[in-house]
Point group: C2
Chain length 409, copies 2
DNA sequence: ACAGTTTCCCGTAAATGC
DNA sequence: TGCATTTACGGGAAACTG
């Protein structure tokens, strides 16, 4: 007889990478009347999974271990498997059909544990298994894996529905937005506010008028690309989470990153502000990018908004973001480089906001002269020209450029 | 009977990393009278190596394969082993003594090949083996490995002296300097000239007067740290080779990097030159660093030399070196940032030399404003003060600084 | 040809051994 | 404890494979 009476703890990791070690632990919650012999537990990956539909994996390393009395507890029996490693079963006879068209991160797998013993002439089989697991072969598949874990946890309480992604349910925006906000708060201690979530809602549903509580399909969330882009909604959001984790934690936690702002909203917010007012916003066109947009007034009083080319993780590992804000310069008329960033929206003086976050790591390597990398934008000739055509003062500006180029030499 | 009549070709790789695949090939040079059966070759690593003295490795993957007629040749038999992989033999009983105090990159190993066949009732054993091989477990051991390969090739013609580093011979400077120059020319197509080699000679022997042709010990070359540094001569030189390979190839090949110049020589060369004359030199204090030193005249006509903090591979992957030269700025009096680099020694205008090497990759990501990272050095307050004490104009300069700080705001 | 997926392996960091 | 060496694995790129 089979008794599912051995509650398992191995709810983590939920994503396992082949060839990378993981650890799992099972505990026996009932006290056995007699345990005068070693109670061995065997762990199996993809047990009872019919071959053909999905990839199958097995545990490359030793998979059987005896239970032991837990150190710090009420004498429970438990066993911890360490250094477990997964490898894919390769079928010579191409039985792998995969008509279901599931991507690898939609395949759900599981880890089973079995033990059996005889008490009073009765053989008892214990068995339990983990929550569904996603198996990946490269870290570049992690975002896809997290999408699946998120969707599963959000939309079902079933402990082991491995066919979940065969026909995944929709999520209401209310449910989803809570989970998305939670992604940010667990990462960084600060979730998303109403305005930020509003921008995400608009992004996922399009700019229609918001009706009560719309449904998001799994496909919309993580399979279809965003209109006009070559990445999905979740890929985009996850790339931002990674950027925050790696490069923007303090700035994010201080609430200095508005982040999710549509271009229209950005203009509405900035246009009546003091010149030099800026806000920080994540790029919508590039994965994992952050930019700043500032307002300035042209000579004839016209309001202009400028955004810098988005900073990605590569750039930010050369120059920390707070320092970028401190040091950024624009050479707009070719004479004196100036930092256009003065006030963080709505009106906080830049240094007041970011002062404590600057890294002034002057590396004292006598006798060398230390240097700092300073990001500089130059208003280019061709760009100026197009500007000029707009405002109809071609000759004047050309002349100006000519004198500039002399001064630069 | 054993006949060493199967000349082997596997002289490469000379350094093998455990767990990383390598390939080797053997060819049979004699024509066999009858080959009506498959001639199998077995390859063995560390065959006949007595256990105890050094680490021992074995071939993890399949090590036997049948010879075949070579595709494009005179019907020679040959066999190529692919996907070979090495793993260390672990001895439970700690037989590994290693009293010899050899480091892992001084241990020499070998790859053996065996085949046997019967012809006219006579059993013939063929056997051959590779040149000595160094086995490493991490790429951070590569420089040590190359040092060994270089020293072995330079100083012996023996095909299989695995005890070579038990008592390694010395090299004459003449021999060594040729090989060092050759390292640069194979890497980049340009070797070292007499002046550069002279600096290296001085570095390895100290600043004594040069006698005819001194001997360099293996220890001096690659085991003892350079006086006052925490790296060896070869580690330092190899870090420079890597820097050139990864970031400086065009500049090196154009002969714009003087590179190996003592500080004394640098001063002698630059002091009578036009202000703004600079040269490029590898850092002697940091591994894999390059710096530029320029001459300028202070207001009272005194000659000053300045060097920028060395650029290492990390910095150079954020800003290409030619662009650094183009863009570098110094804010020396707080007013206008200026590029102090005008003429490449002796008198080549900077843009004439480097113009074709600049990367003006203006990333057109409309509507964003692209930026360039510009390295800027600022003559700091405390440094200025110490300067001031030197030339005795404290009050004047302090006043100057005060007005500067106003202008900067 | 191509996209989805896996393998390969450098290079950094952490763990291990001596 | 400290140094030498190995192991672990993220991340970019190449190789694979239907």
């Amino acid at each position: 007889e089979k008794q599912p009476c051995m509650p398992a703890q191995p709810q983590r990791p939920l994503i396992i990478k082949t060839g990378v070690q993981f650890t799992t632990k099972v505990r026996l919650l009932v006290k056995l009347p007699e345990v005068d012999y070693q109670l061995k537990v065997k762990t199996t990956f993809d047990k009872d999974l019919p071959p053909g539909r999905v990839r199958q994996f097995y545990i490359l390393t030793s998979n059987t271990k005896a239970m032991d009395i837990e150190d710090f507890s009420n004498g429970c029996l438990s066993v911890e498997f360490r250094h477990l490693q997964l490898k894919e079963k390769k079928y010579i006879n191409g039985t792998k059909g995969n008509e279901a068209l599931l991507s690898v991160t939609e395949e759900l797998h599981s880890l089973s544990f079995e033990a059996n013993f005889t008490v009073q002439g009765l053989t008892i089989d214990l068995e339990t298994c983990s929550l569904p697991l996603v198996v990946i072969s490269n870290v570049c598949q992690l975002p896809g894996g997290w999408a699946s874990v998120l969707w599963y946890n959000l939309l079902t309480d079933e402990p082991r529905n491995l066919a979940f992604f065969g026909n995944p349910p929709r999520a209401s925006w209310k449910q989803l937005s809570e989970v998305l906000s939670w992604q940010f708060s667990t990462l960084a201690g600060r979730g998303l506010n109403k305005d930020q979530l509003g921008m995400l809602e608009e992004k996922i549903f399009g700019q229609h008028v918001s009706c009560s509580d719309r449904q998001v399909s799994w496909s919309k969330f993580s399979k279809e690309n965003i209109q006009g882009k070559n990445f999905t909604f979740w890929m985009w959001l996850d790339s931002i989470l990674e950027l925050i984790k790696r490069h923007l934690l303090p700035v994010w936690n201080e609430n200095y990153i508005m982040g999710f702002v549509s271009k229209g909203m950005e203009r509405a917010l900035l246009k009546d502000r003091e010149p030099g007012t800026f806000l920080l916003r994540f790029s919508e066109s590039h994965l994992g990018g952050i930019t700043f947009t500032w307002v300035q007034h042209s000579d004839n009083g016209e309001v202009q908004l400028n955004s810098v080319e988005p900073y990605t993780k590569n750039r930010l590992s050369a120059v920390p973001f707070a320092d970028v804000i401190r040091d950024y310069k624009v050479i707009s008329d070719g004479v004196v480089p100036e930092n256009p960033l003065k006030f963080l929206y709505p009106d906080i003086p830049k240094d007041e906001a970011f002062g404590s976050l600057y890294n002034s790591q002057r590396s004292k390597v006598f006798p060398y002269l230390p240097f700092t990398l300073i990001p500089v934008s130059e208003i280019q000739f061709d760009k100026q020209l197009s500007l000029v055509f707009d405002i109809g003062t071609l000759e004047l500006v050309s002349y100006h450029l000519f004198t500039c180029s002399r001064k630069l030499k």
